[in-house]
Symmetry: C2
Subunit: 251 residues, 2 copies
């Protein structure tokens, strides 16, 4: 009976189980129910013991958020394995649909990650010694943008009028393009430099706005009227988005 007590198992295992139970409570009973004592109860320990692993409830919640992001990323990646490697359009479609499916299936988690007041979340401030820095976060962004990059590498998209992008945004867009190019190259995807001109980057931004808006409205039930079956609405938006960039939705 090697009955491994908690003391034996590596610390990381316990940390993981804590976050796991926290998430279970979040999903099943909402954010308010994620209580240190409730978590501890699930693990068969007492609340103060959790402070051996996390600085505070806030800290724990942040790590849970990171877990959620990783899970979302894993789910979308799994979806992509069912898509033909070279079907870039299908890949982007799968990512978009996967995002919606995930959000509807995990409203609490979606709210926590994608619809919580900016808790100064983007703390990537490192400074070589600064302990802050929580990446993950944009797992969805990474995967979505990767697929978009692959799509751009293999299809010629309908670039909108060159000078439609607002001048004040050029600096931001250029910086973002740099980020994108680095990441896409790091992923081993060939991308002709000019395929990612500012108009295209700008288009991707608008794509994200519509995708996010649609999904969030659906999760929160804030459409201006009761939509009996929101799926056609979503699909219609997708085909429209692809029409806009001159690609047929080979659904």
């Amino acid at each position: 009976m090697t009955e491994t007590t908690r003391r034996d198992r590596p610390r990381a295992d316990t940390e993981r189980e804590i976050r796991q139970q926290a998430r279970r409570l979040l999903v099943e009973q909402g954010r308010e129910a994620v209580t240190l004592r409730a978590i501890a109860r699930q693990l068969g320990i007492t609340a103060p013991a959790l402070y051996r692993y996390y600085d505070s409830r806030e800290d724990l919640l942040r790590r849970v958020i990171d877990d959620i992001c990783l899970d979302l990323g894993a789910e979308l990646t799994a979806d992509l394995t069912r898509i033909d490697e070279h079907d870039a359009v299908g890949g982007v479609l799968a990512v978009c649909r996967g995002f919606r499916r995930w959000a509807l299936a995990h409203p609490q988690e979606f709210t926590l990650v994608f619809a919580s007041p900016d808790d100064s979340a983007h703390c990537e401030v490192d400074e070589s010694t600064g302990k802050m820095m929580r990446p993950a976060k944009d797992q969805f962004g990474r995967i979505f943008l990767n697929m978009a990059g692959k799509l751009l590498a293999t299809h010629k998209v309908l670039v909108p009028e060159e000078e439609k992008v607002p001048a004040d945004l050029r600096a931001d867009l250029i910086a973002f393009r740099g980020h994108l190019l680095a990441q896409i190259e790091h992923e081993g995807i060939e991308l002709p430099e000019q395929a990612l001109n500012l108009s295209v980057v700008y288009l991707m931004l608008q794509f994200w706005v519509r995708l996010y808006g649609q999904v969030a409205l659906e999760v929160f039930g804030r459409f201006p009227f009761a939509v009996a079956n929101p799926e056609p609405l979503f699909e219609s938006m997708l085909t429209e988005l692809f029409d806009d960039i001159g690609l047929a939705d080979a659904s």
Copy 2:
């Protein structure tokens, strides 16, 4: 010294002050800080006294949400007084910009009203005796749709291809159109029946998706990259939306 104690003042005044202080806490310290005891402290009374006015904290929060909606409505209406009565385009623009300005200035309130998991919010179930029924809620929807209606009554919009609207949505759109027509007529606006065909209703839905998506992303800081100055992005979206329906943005 007629020093009016709380007992004298009409009950409604106290109720209002309670919600007012609750909102102050919400704005200044976030949702979690909206505590019955904290509210009572501000009023110089004790927490259980609040139960004379509201059934529970949840109940109080719901009324606060209604207040927020009314305030948003009032603010937008005030914006509209500064617009020429007959400038429908300007009116819609003002409402959109006002919505964004309000959301950025009141992130906590925006989150509570527009980005909280569907707490079975749309309880308009009346049934002639049922006590449920909390209107307000869609103050923004009402004003926005009114302006849109006025715009449709005075301008000929570029109707997209008739049959682009997904078939499964027709029933919902028809019902919504009925709702819109009734409300617009109730507002005393003449609207030629066919000016509000299904394509137009569908367009308004997409308009809302993009407006909401953009504003929510900005409030939550969830754009895929750091946007130094989001305002041009918003304005660009607005002009694009108006371009799409064939109206010049007479900004």
